[in-house]
Symmetry: C2
Subunit: 439 residues, 2 copies
């Protein structure tokens, strides 16, 4: 009869205990508040979809990592492995119901059967935000400003490295290396990992010595935004719609940041940012923490031509610009730099002096709660006799509570003892006086 | 080359468009705020667990409905179908890390391959809250008060039907029908569905005519809390720890509600509530909306003896009391009674008069956002020439925005036109005047 099942969880999956979960929720709330202040609205999609939808053209890493199975109706289904593919399907399906430009965010869990040895999780939270249905540079800029505002609001100083994928293409065209695009991108994308020497060798074998030199000159252009822009414009054969767009973005940055950002150069033009083989076609960007650049980009993205080509027969394309924050990496970063949003705790607890008065203790608590003061009620007087208040102080301290109330005989009418747990001082106060202290 | 995949979603699964998702988030936030005000803390667990853990002793409906499959490592895994089983596993695993009594809530998605023809969803959100590690009646009461406070805070008047499973057992013992417990419970639980006549017949065939009469007398006891309590105490052979507990709860209800609840009788003693074959052993309850009793209980629960017997070898049991709100049913109810929490919308939008000034428009918007005013920036002047402000007013109305700002030549310095979209009035105001109006 006595069945026993070992209480274990799957590798790569996590329980969140209260302290961790409260921090995660605070972080999400802070991020969402900024998104809302920009007029971005939330959506949600199912955790599970037809495998065909999620795999799209299929192949590659995704296929190996996806959780895919047959449901009870023999349908070929899978768990979402990112929020981008479901969003493309969502737009194709609900296009007629939405107002464009559509500014949306989506915070949700995704699942990948990643190799956990690399410290990766198999269940993690993504936070995506996009503007769909606007080609205007003002939308590229709004995404950049939203990233900056969101991260500044978390107390983080950042630098956003911006580039234009189209300008890189134009440059390769100018040096007659267009057909090497894929190989060159793959190589350039690994620059920060393998170093300049290794990249040079690879590029030489792909495009020849002279072209490799030009490519390295392009991606290595240094200086302030306009200096780099002038250099890469020149290297790509003179000004073009792509270089003009970067110039417009630069003007917007100057206009919008006039005096209101603590960091005077939050945006740099970095021609080595290409976002590899991703589906981006326009502006691309990666975001680095000034205090912790080595953890890599915590928020990347760019502009794409047609989000839902795969799911739509319509001729009119849906272009957009968007970005994604990895919440787990952001949390780790905030912890490292000591800027985790503090866990909100109940401010006070009412000690249980006499368990028979629990109804009256709750009435007292309700009166605090109505005034916006979070108030826990301790449920048992315990077996400790006269020692019990001390035990309850210990419990309150463990829970991170600031004050304990020791109620009187008539909790709502009598004066109560208000104990400050950090100073260990007791004060006799009325209900109104207690509220004044706690507000 | 032109691959096309039809953008469809699985039956029983849902996309949430912004208006619906905003309402869901507002609802969740309102519920969480009340939970926090009582000192309840959130946790989270993985969507996926070992199938063995989730199925426990296995069998029955659960086994048929669960999404179960082999992962890429050939592990037998499944998606959680409720939040109770993962919580039991969580407590068994983390017991040493937690402070008891442990007051937690958990809001999360669960998955069941239900028959969608009955209007059920295969992906839905549960909201569970429990107090673990306290046997005290004050914890039973706190759960009841928390339900009442949460639903009142949503503008709903409710009646909570309370009973004690142990007292029902005691009564069956008193009439020598203990061995029929399972059959009797199964029958009583269907009372509201099949009606009194049918129930009577079933009970007669189970327990004989005379006992059936007594059972119907017990479960049909009517009157105020004390009248019903006296009657069922008598029918179960006189006062017992179980009847004393109900009396204590009644005292707590009187004490805590003294003058602070709009509904003077939110709690009724209803001996027909047994929660069927659930694992409850003590107090049980169901919650009905006064304006919409027919939709059934929107929040049910009770006290259980040992939450994690299955996952723990320890002798010390973990008893508790808890409850669960079905958010989908609650949302449907709120919609029916016209009390859906309103969607928060951005208050203002800045019209795009000249796209080249987008940086300055964002600077103006940032100044509003810093003062807590949500402000969207429109991204394109559009091709409409001088007609464009009108088009932008239409866009703003579609988005539910209240005011549109038509900025001046120097957006941060010049006066702007503030258009009230409901009255269609325009006013020339400075930035400071606009803020005063909008705050």
């Amino acid at each position: 009869m006595a069945v026993y099942i070992e209480p274990k969880i799957l590798k790569g999956f996590r329980d969140f205990l209260p302290d961790a979960e409260i921090v995660r929720r605070n972080l999400t709330e802070k991020i969402e508040n900024v998104f809302c202040s920009f007029g971005f609205v939330p959506i949600d999609t199912p955790a599970m979809e037809y495998a065909e939808i999620l795999l799209g053209k299929g192949g590659g890493e995704t296929e190996k990592q996806i959780y895919r199975f047959k449901d009870n109706g023999e349908r070929d289904v899978a768990l979402r492995f990112d929020l981008t593919v479901p969003f493309a399907r969502f737009i194709a399906l609900h296009r007629a119901e939405l107002t464009f430009p559509f500014k949306r965010y989506h915070i949700g869990k995704v699942w990948r059967g990643e190799n956990t040895q690399r410290g990766r999780f198999r269940e993690f939270t993504q936070c995506d935000f996009d503007i769909i249905g606007s080609d205007s540079p003002s939308s590229d800029f709004e995404i950049l400003l939203l990233i900056q505002t969101t991260l500044l609001n978390l107390g983080l100083e950042i630098t956003i490295h911006v580039n234009h994928r189209g300008l890189f293409n134009k440059f390769l065209q100018h040096i007659n290396q267009s057909e090497k695009l894929v190989d060159v991108l793959r190589t350039v994308d690994k620059l920060s990992k393998v170093g300049e020497e290794e990249t040079k060798k690879s590029l030489e074998s792909i495009a020849g010595e002279e072209n490799a030199k030009k490519i390295l000159e392009f991606i290595g252009a240094k200086g302030n935004f306009t200096e780099v822009l002038n250099r890469i414009t020149e290297l790509s054969g003179g000004s073009s719609p792509e270089s003009d767009r970067l110039l417009t973005l630069y003007e917007f940055m100057k206009d919008a940041n006039a005096g209101n950002a603590p960091n005077s150069e939050p945006f740099v033009l970095d021609p080595s940012i290409t976002r590899g083989l991703d589906y981006y076609t326009g502006v691309v960007f990666e975001t680095f923490l000034n205090d912790l650049p080595d953890i890599g980009s915590i928020c990347s993205g760019g502009r794409y031509d047609n989000l839902c080509a795969l799911y739509s027969k319509e001729k009119e394309t849906v272009s957009g610009v968007g970005s994604s924050i990895g919440l787990d990496r952001l949390l780790a970063a905030l912890e490292t730099v000591g800027k985790l949003p503090a866990a909100k705790k109940p401010q006070i607890a009412i000690a249980c002096v006499n368990a028979e008065k629990s109804g009256e203790y709750q009435a007292l608590a309700q009166s605090f709660r109505k005034d916006g003061i979070n108030c826990e009620v301790f449920l048992d007087a315990g077996a400790g006799g006269e020692k019990q208040p001390v035990k309850q102080f210990v419990l309150a301290e463990k829970k991170g509570i600031r004050y304990v109330i020791i109620p009187g005989d008539e909790p709502l009418k009598d004066k109560m003892t208000l104990r400050n747990l950090s100073t260990r001082e007791n004060r006799e106060v009325s209900v109104e006086e207690a509220k004044k202290t706690l507000k």
